[in-house]
Amino acid sequence: MNIYLPIAEVSVNAYLLLGLGGIVGILSGMFGVGGGFLMTPLLFFIGIPPAVAVATEANQIVASSFSGVLAHLRRKTVDLKMGTVLLIGGLIGAFLGIQLFNYLKSLGQVDLLVKLSYVVFLSIIGSLMFVESLRAIMRSKRTGGAPPKRRKHTWIHALPFKMKFRTSGLYISVIPPVLVGVAVGVLAAIMGVGGGFIMVPAMIYLLGMPTKVVVGTSLFQIIFVTAFTTLAHATTNYTVDIALALLLMTGGVIGAQIGTRIGLKLKAEQLRILLAMMVLGVVAKLGLELLLQPAELYSIGAGGE
């Protein structure tokens, strides 16, 4: 059954969209990531205009992260104070990101920007995750358990404007979380992703937050950043497609429930290595497109941009 998307102005198979939403939902349920970084390139592949894909994906992430945060609030694994600090940075970042996005759109380089961001960030995250989970698998084979890490005092603890984050058990400067928020906000606006796959490692390794509150807190701030991004895209670029978002959400929400159950049956390292391989696969595809000569050198855009 084909459905005509009112904003994207293309006709796409509705089951294909539900299926894509479902598959990405399963993966996001399994790995605890928003899945935007997989969905947006997939939408490019099926012919959704990149600007619509990015804006609509932000809208879909609002739904999936809201659903996730409710579950985390029940388990009290959300650091609202840290989330708010990250959010302030995130909103500044999203604002900057939209400006950058619109500026590059006027130059005709928005596709390049989006694809380059993907290639750069996904290859870094993918390879780090791959190496780290490979080590973890080797270690668990050798000894059967990693020794607990001791928290180190680094330059981060020497910064001013310190604040107490009770849920995370931290007493640190607000500067690093704000900066992390800004970086993620810019990415959210440009790439149409929640940024969880960057924020989660940053919270663990840079801010030293306990792992159990990281996912919930990251989801909490992602809701607001992606909601802001959605509104900004809707009012400046008119590129949010509600029909597309609704189909993706429906598939995604069902998939996430299935994915969570599959995820419980797999080991953490196995999960991470699978995710890493998938991320690297997406990178390879996008990277080759930039490096190899395209079959069609010309592209058509709306006039006056």
Partner: protein
């Protein structure tokens, strides 16, 4: 005196262009883009009205064009910079039809001579007008060619010689397939009768293509009240997220 005048008038008539006229119809003059719109096919048919038997000599030919609303278009070309392929050159085209189909009874060069083609703007390249030549890009024509090539591949531009059936030099018909990714607006349909490459009559009508129902409502809302549209999309997202969570909890407990 009067008889002589009448006779002269009758003799003069066959030479006049208006002697053979198009009478035409469309299978539909309105196309509604609904949520499950998946392209459409329109049937264009008609007859040639004559007051006298058809003149001898070159056979009658029919040329039919369907043109979607024109829009300004930017065509960009990629080039290799620092090892990656990026958009480098761009040409702004003032106006290019979003859809354009030409259907004829025979090969283009046989049914229409180039001057008439230019005068009536029948071939697709005459419909595309480039902006004032861009000094930075010397080969503007390559960009126009690329636009035609890309849109032809997508089925947005069609050239179908020989697809108009003409019987007895009187009745003609053809069908034109409109793809699913149509733009809204007036689609101008023109029918030309030609003999010996010369246009002898022209007929014009239009098809209205518009989104209807929910499609129309959403599209209008997104352009006219973008803030409300954005808030609506967020509301739907929150409800979907909450619904999924509530649904899942209900079944777990």
């Amino acid at each position: 005196m009067f008889r002589i005048l009448l006779a002269a008038l009758l003799l003069a008539l066959p030479a006049k262009a208006g002697d053979e006229q198009v009478v035409a119809g469309l299978s539909q003059n309105r196309i509604a883009i609904t949520a499950n719109f998946d392209g459409s096919e329109i049937l264009i048919f008609g007859a040639v009205k004559r007051n006298s038997p058809p003149p001898k000599g070159a056979p009658m030919e029919v040329v039919i064009t369907v043109a979607g609303p024109s829009q300004p278009v930017t065509v960009r070309r990629k080039d290799k910079r620092l090892g990656i392929w990026v958009n480098v050159d761009a040409v702004e085209l003032d106006s290019a039809p979003s859809f354009y189909a030409v259907a004829t009874t025979g090969p283009m060069e046989k049914v229409l001579n180039p001057e008439e083609d230019r005068k009536y703007r029948i071939s697709i390249r005459h419909e595309i007008s480039a902006a004032a030549a861009d000094a930075e890009v010397p080969d503007v024509d390559a960009f126009t060619e690329a636009l035609i090539r890309i849109r032809t591949e997508k089925g947005l531009y069609q050239l179908k010689p020989g697809s108009v059936q003409l019987s007895e030099e009187t009745l003609f018909r053809t069908s034109i397939k409109l793809p699913s990714n149509l733009t809204e607006g007036e689609y101008t349909t023109r029918i030309f009768l030609t003999r010996d490459g010369q246009v002898i009559d022209e007929y014009e009508t239009s098809i209205d293509v518009s989104k209807v129902g929910l499609e129309r409502w959403l599209f209008k809302l997104s352009r006219e009240k973008p803030l409300y549209y954005g808030l609506l999309s967020l509301f739907i997202a929150i409800v979907a997220g909450w619904g999924a969570s509530a649904f899942f909890n209900y079944f777990r407990s």
